[in-house]
């Protein structure tokens, strides 16, 4: 699960500081609390950070601090076709999933926010349920059906299964921005002669773009990080990067994984930053 991907609540956590918040004066108990929280934050962040220096280690085995600087593990990664082909496969799958889930997700979000048909609440639940059901269950259930449809070990099969898991992220983010969208803007555009498609392209789309961007990013990551469904469906030929890493960790702890991990951490920090930038820009325009 990618717990993944399990629901990753968005990053928009802070409201402005509520009025009347008391200032906390210095006290020993407060200092103790601060120290404790420092340790907890260290517990959260240290493992992620420690991987980066290790990936540049000159040693043949794991040691920290590393005895010298070397790019051997990165070299190893890019020279070995089992690693590079897994990475290329993951990017291909995740990119296709992102496009598919974003298009289907925007369409569904419009229907869910604007529509008024029977069973809408039920449909809402169905659509987020892939986030609730443990991934292992989705994996074996889809595997059972795929075996009959001959979709096991196919690119299409993996993409479709990942799209099911990615779709809720797009829908949650796009419906959130759509709800804040003032529908009178569309009415104004249409009364000035715009077609429904033009209205969507030039009025709706630019306004909800931040939600779409966030949803697309989540969809990409949901697929890119996904292991369990891929484990059942992808097969040795279509091995993804998480599958290759999982094998590597099961057999021996190969420091090449430190190099892969550092690249992935850099990637997720960049994603986090770009989502934040887009969100801020979106807020300013509104």
């Amino acid at each position: 699960m990618t717990v993944h991907p399990v629901a990753r609540p968005g990053t928009r956590v802070l409201a402005d500081r509520p009025a009347g918040r008391p200032r906390y004066a210095f006290s020993w108990s407060r200092l103790l609390l601060a120290a404790l929280c420092g340790l907890i934050l260290l517990f959260l962040i240290a493992p992620v950070i420690i991987v980066i220096p290790m990936s540049f280690s000159a040693a043949k085995y794991l040691s920290f601090p590393p005895p010298g600087f070397s790019l051997q593990w990165y070299q190893n990664f890019f020279n070995r076709s089992d690693w590079t082909s897994a990475m290329i496969q993951s990017i291909r799958v995740a990119f296709t999933v992102m496009i598919l889930a974003t298009i289907l997700g925007i369409m569904a979000s419009l229907a869910l926010v604007r529509g008024n048909f029977p069973g809408k609440d039920f449909i809402n639940v169905v659509i987020v349920s892939p986030l609730i059901v443990p991934t292992i269950i989705v994996a074996i259930a889809v595997y059972g059906v795929y075996a009959r449809l001959h979709l096991v070990q196919t690119f299409v099969g993996l993409v479709l299964a990942h799209t099911v898991l990615a779709l809720p992220y797009v829908i949650v983010n796009v419906t959130a921005t759509l709800r804040g969208f003032d529908i009178r803007l569309e009415q104004a555009a249409q009364s000035l002669g715009a077609s429904p498609l033009q209205t969507f392209r030039f009025v709706t789309l630019p306004t909800i773009a931040p939600g779409i961007f966030a949803g697309a990013v989540f969809a990409f990551i949901a697929s890119f990080d996904e292991l369990i469904v891929a484990l059942f469906i992808a097969g040795a030929q279509g091995r993804t990067l998480p599958m290759r890493m999982f094998e590597g960790l099961r057999l021996e702890i190969d420091p090449t994984i430190a190099a892969v991990s550092s690249m992935l951490i850099t990637f997720s920090v960049l994603v986090l930053l770009s989502a934040e930038v887009v969100r801020r820009r979106g807020r300013r325009e509104l």
Binding site: P9, G10, V13, A15, P18, L36, L41, I127
Partner: protein, 303 residues
């Protein structure tokens, strides 16, 4: 058009003029059409497979049978897996609560800017692949790992501690993955608590501790409940961490399911295990929904 605005109770007002009504219905039909591709995908590749899984679990050689469920309760090994799964999920939830509550509390007392900065330290691991984080813990905890070397160099221990391939490794790895799921909802609720209430309690003579226990703590409980239920559910279905850092005897239900399919080729039995896991998950979610509402989890906006 205003009739379709979400959240407005105007649906009933529509229907006076037949021409308006036709337009309205056509628009609704068009909107439903937009929903159709996503709905079809979910029905074919999610709802149907899971339904089929449930059906498979009550069939044995072509006829109805509860054989697979009986096996779960009768075979010691499988009962132990169930017990281990629940115990680990409970332990992880308890640890996350103990670590997450003070952290969320502390963050909620800071100025927004400072809290936002510190929250990045929670969000970066949250956004990092579980495999990467599990790898990091394996590097830290293994026999020749970073922590053991440092402890030996410092002279605190003579023999390396066993912190991996046993329960300790699983708990550390899982808590690391699940702690943000506790901190974020708890923090969001605490942030919304009106601090004037606490000041009022203190003006009325409560000590800071009393004010915390009798005013702040009860108000923070919805966040705690949300975080705990979420962590517990996610922990029940965990696969990656126990598979990589767990001991051979400490097997969780997801590992058993994977093993039943990939090495024993026993799909119906795995389906029965999956059904049990699914039912437990759903029951907890119904409770969650009653208490807090599903939208609380999935809202892209925690504030």
């Amino acid at each position: 058009m205003a009739v379709t605005a979400p959240g407005s109770a105007t649906g009933a007002r529509v229907v006076v003029d037949p021409r308006m009504r036709r337009l309205y219905l056509r628009r609704q039909l068009g909107l439903f059409g937009l929903l159709l591709p996503a709905l079809l995908l979910l029905l074919v590749l999610f709802a149907y497979p899971i339904l089929r899984l449930l059906v498979t679990s009550v069939y044995d050689q072509g006829s109805f049978s509860l054989e697979h469920y009986q096996r779960i309760v009768q075979v010691d090994l499988y009962l132990r897996v169930m017990r281990t799964t629940f115990t680990i999920a409970l332990q992880v939830t308890a640890i996350c609560l103990v670590l997450g509550y003070p952290l969320a509390y502390f963050l909620s007392t800071l100025r927004a800017r400072t809290a936002r900065l510190l929250l990045i330290l929670v969000l970066i691991p949250f956004w990092t692949s579980i495999l990467v984080r599990t790898y990091a813990w394996m590097v830290l905890l293994q026999r020749q790992g970073v922590i053991n070397r440092w402890l030996i160099e410092l002279g605190l221990i003579d023999e390396p501690l066993r912190m991996m391939y046993n329960r300790i490794g699983v708990l550390v790895g899982m808590v690391h993955v699940l702690l943000p799921f506790m901190v974020l909802p708890t923090f969001a609720v605490m942030r919304g608590i009106d601090r004037d209430l606490i000041r009022a309690a203190q003006n009325l003579g409560a000590t800071p501790l009393q004010a915390f226990l009798r005013v702040f703590f009860p108000l923070s409980l919805p966040g705690v409940a949300a975080g705990s239920l979420l962590v517990f559910i996610l922990a029940l279905g965990f696969f990656i961490t126990p598979a990589l850092m767990g001991g051979r005897t400490d097997i969780m239900i997801a590992q058993l399911m994977e093993d039943q399919i990939r090495t024993q080729l026993n799909f119906p039995f795995a389906a029965a295990l999956g059904t049990v896991l699914l039912l437990v998950t759903l029951v907890i979610f119904v409770i969650y929904n009653r208490l807090l509402g599903l939208d609380k989890i999935f809202g892209g906006d925690v504030s």
